[in-house]
């Protein structure tokens, strides 16, 4: 192990980690909105939109992010749509994450029992109030563990961004291996960086899951 080398390149990893995190956050936020919209469309069974959302979900869930990115980055410019690598990364991640978020939110919405909705209607709440005060708050707490899992999944998926020439963690590691042949150090730092990014989320997800089980079953 060459510790002076590690010290020297740590700032590069830090920068790359921030880029990864930054892109992941934008992607997560956008896919959160997309997922929520799609979940509501599916939950309320809105006629035509339902089919479009269904097709989108199948397409997004059954293809790897890498191929989606390649298509955006190499095929779109040939059709006259030029996208920068950052735009590609964000669009790709949102396209992928949207369907995962949709599934989490929809199953959370469906987990709110019918009795709850009927009781709310009985005491004279309007449909809007039912959604706002009865369905959404309950669905929200149910969706937290799934949401955390999705966040973790999406941050992990950012590792393919290096394929569209973004200087993320993977890219820095690949670069350093190629330039200095310091494979062990580069890979070690890469692992540590992903641990720092993902371990807290993993712990929060575990905690949320336990809390939820406690809230639901009281044990």
């Amino acid at each position: 192990m060459d510790f002076s080398f590690i010290k020297q390149v740590t700032p590069m990893y830090k920068e790359a980690a921030f880029l990864t995190l930054h892109l992941a956050l934008i992607g997560i936020l956008l896919s959160l909105l997309l997922g929520l919209a799609c979940a509501l469309v599916k939950y309320y069974r809105i006629p035509v939109l339902k089919r479009i959302v269904g097709a989108y979900i199948e397409l997004s869930r059954n293809t790897p992010l890498l191929i989606q990115l390649f298509f955006l980055y190499f095929a779109f410019p040939r059709m006259g749509i030029k996208l920068s690598s950052v735009q590609c990364a964000i669009i790709g991640l949102t396209f992928l994450g949207g369907s995962y978020m949709e599934e989490t939110f929809r199953s959370a919405l469906e987990s709110v029992s019918k009795v709850q909705i009927e009781s709310a209607q009985c005491i004279g709440l309007t449909p809007r109030q039912v959604t706002q005060y009865v369905i959404l708050p309950q669905a929200f707490s149910v969706s937290i563990p799934g949401f955390c899992a999705n966040v973790m999944f999406m941050i992990k998926e950012t590792s393919v961004f290096s394929a569209v020439a973004l200087a993320d963690l993977m890219y820095v590691a690949k670069d350093l291996i190629g330039l200095y042949y310091k494979t062990e150090e580069s890979l070690l730092l890469l692992c540590i960086a992903y641990f720092i990014l993902l371990l807290p989320i993993s712990l929060i997800a575990g905690f949320a899951e336990r809390r939820l089980r406690y809230a639901q079953f009281g044990r």
Binding site: L66, K156, T183, L187
Partner: protein
């Protein structure tokens, strides 16, 4: 006026691009590449189902040390992106232990290790969901512990595991798209070769090639997830 011009150009580009697929054996080569990906996924899944069962049983052992070790292994496999694991196996192993694996071998190793962790967790869940009275009833009619395990517990875990492991196969196939980064000649690499070979004559080839690769992945995974859903539905009834 301008916009209609642009759309005509776009259509021309797309038409020209798809001509590449009919040239020579390009489509067949892409299908061959897809098979490499699917093959790696299938071999890894076969290994990880066997090892995952053992790992899942290990996780239900009530020994603290065993439990902690399993937990750490599972967390490590869950937290590391598969791409990092591939790099560790392909570049790391070679440098640190002088074990030089081919791209295919490294991929199968990584996907087996990862699949074992994921499958193990599914098996653990299935084993824990078998209610206690099943064990007790088995004992009451005089079966040995081994008989209880093989004739009562295992059959009950297989049912919920079937759709879950089918979903795992889909995830595995999607993830094997990464093996191009450790030098395996699979569908993406062959696609890149076709694009490069036609760089001068058909500069728009990338549209068709990536579209076809996208659709190939889609159909393989879609059929699997439809099958998984059908199995799940038939079990619920």
């Amino acid at each position: 006026m301008l916009s209609s011009d642009a759309s005509v150009n776009m259509l021309d580009a797309i038409r020209e691009a798809f001509g590449v697929l009919t040239m020579g054996t390009n489509t067949l080569r892409l299908l061959g590449g897809l098979w490499v990906t699917v093959w790696i996924a299938l071999v890894s899944v076969a290994f990880s189902i066997v090892l995952g069962f053992l790992f899942g049983m290990l996780m239900t052992v009530k020994n603290r040390v065993v439990k902690t070790v399993c937990r750490i292994y599972l967390e490590f496999m869950r937290i590391m992106p598969q791409m990092v694991l591939l790099f560790l196996a392909y570049y790391g192993l070679t440098r640190m232990f002088s074990i030089s694996l081919s791209g295919e071998a490294a991929s199968i190793l990584v996907f087996t290790l990862w699949g074992t962790a994921e499958m193990g967790d599914l098996v653990r869940g299935a084993l824990e969901s078998v209610p206690n009275h099943q064990y007790e009833s088995g004992r009451a009619i005089g079966l040995t512990e081994r008989q209880i395990f093989f004739y009562i517990i295992i059959p009950q875990t297989l049912r919920p595991l079937l759709p879950l492991s089918m979903n795992l196969i889909t995830r595995m196939i999607k993830t094997t798209s990464l093996v191009v980064f450790v030098g395996v000649i699979e569908v993406v690499k062959i696609g890149q070769q076709i694009i490069e070979a036609n760089r001068l004559t058909v500069p728009t080839a990338s549209i068709a090639v990536y579209f076809v690769i996208f659709m190939m992945y889609f159909f393989v995974c879609w059929i699997l997830s439809l099958a998984a859903r059908a199995v799940e539905r038939s079990q619920k009834r």
